[in-house]
């Protein structure tokens, strides 16, 4: 059995340096650099095709970069992909759900494959069900859930192993205004304990004003990107 890598000396929770990704002659992202400190929420804003999802997929270890480095909690996503995956919760644009499982069974399954210990699983599943307001759908088949509830289950699977870093790709896309508010409030409640990256299409319904969706945590900012 291989040992779990220990985290390198404390750095920013997420560090991206000169990241590029090309597909043949098409450049999806070019020389992107930024840092996010622990406990901060960082929003990625851009139109469709700008490179948001590509950047997030590289950070989540789903896609290799062509050039540059990305580190999560000090671990290089290319060199230590398992160590990175243990420390991130990833919600892709289309949540990876099994429609014929109940919410509770699915979350137990995800907790198991994310190596939450058998003794901790019931507590962790209960915690994310409560946090994502899924109590009244605990025993419902996922295929019978509304889009908003499915999104909450997607968030719950990203959180079930209590990762320090959460990556959410357009988490409010396709939701109605009430559901958008609920998901936003949930994300805000996670800040501080978790470092969060989330993306939005340009012109999305998000509040950029002071006190809005991206109010920095005390002492926090995202000014290190370039």
């Amino acid at each position: 059995m291989t040992g779990i890598p220990t985290a390198p000396a404390a750095r920013a929770a997420i560090e991206v340096e000169h990241l590029s990704k090309t597909y043949g002659r098409f450049t999806a992202i070019r020389d992107i650099s930024f840092q996010v400190n622990a406990g901060e929420i960082m929003g990625f804003l851009g139109p469709n095709g700008a490179g948001k999802t590509t950047s997030m997929r590289i950070l989540a270890g789903y896609l290799p970069a062509t050039e540059g480095t990305a580190r999560v909690a000090g671990f290089d996503v290319h060199e230590n992909p398992m160590a990175v995956r243990q420390r991130i919760g990833y919600l892709p644009e289309n949540p990876p759900l099994y429609p014929d499982m109940t919410v509770e069974a699915y979350l137990h399954f995800v907790a198991q494959i994310k190596r939450v210990s058998a003794g901790d699983r019931p507590r962790r599943v209960d915690e994310v069900i409560r946090r994502c307001s899924l109590e009244d759908r605990r025993h419902t088949l996922i295929r019978k859930l509304s889009k908003g509830y499915k999104q909450r289950v997607g968030l719950a699977q990203a959180l079930v192993h209590d990762p320090p870093v959460i990556i959410l790709d357009e988490p409010t896309i396709g939701l109605d205004p009430k559901q958008i508010i609920e998901v936003r409030n949930l994300i805000k409640s996670l800040a501080g304990e978790h470092t969060i990256i989330l993306s939005h299409p340009a012109g999305g319904q998000h509040d950029l004003r002071p006190g809005g969706d991206y109010q920095p945590r005390p002492g926090g900012s995202c000014r290190h990107a370039r």
Partner: protein
């Protein structure tokens, strides 16, 4: 926040930092009472850093106008200056608001600036 466009970072910062980058476009929207549009424009014409973008009639009786202003001032002192100038000219002030830049406006301005700069570089 990171604003990304065509695979490249266009801007980075907190919401306050990003909106500060748009200080040359500080805006205000007012509703005032005056008999004529010319009186409103005359009251505001001598203010430093203030440009009247538009004056639109809202109602005829009593006469109400919606006035849109912009300023390149770095501080917000131009707002009380506008209020004082109107009151001193005998124009009643009913509403004054400072619309905050939306995500879309910030994105459009930053990316438009970037594209314009790129076009200039290519032309040079």
């Amino acid at each position: 926040m990171v604003i990304i466009n065509r695979g490249q970072v266009a801007a980075v910062g907190t919401p306050a930092e990003l909106t500060a980058q748009l200080q040359d476009r500080q805006q205000a929207k007012l509703v005032v009472g005056a008999a004529e549009e010319a009186a409103i424009r005359a009251a505001l014409q001598n203010l430093m850093h203030v440009e009247v973008v538009s004056v639109q009639p809202l109602a005829a009786d009593p006469p109400r106008w919606q006035v849109q202003l912009k300023s390149n001032a770095s501080a917000e002192g131009w707002i009380p200056e506008v209020a004082r100038a109107l009151v001193q000219a005998g124009i009643d002030l009913y509403e004054i608001g400072r619309p905050q830049a939306s995500l879309e406006e910030i994105f459009l301005q930053l990316t438009t600036q970037e594209e314009a700069a790129g076009a200039l570089e290519e032309a040079a």
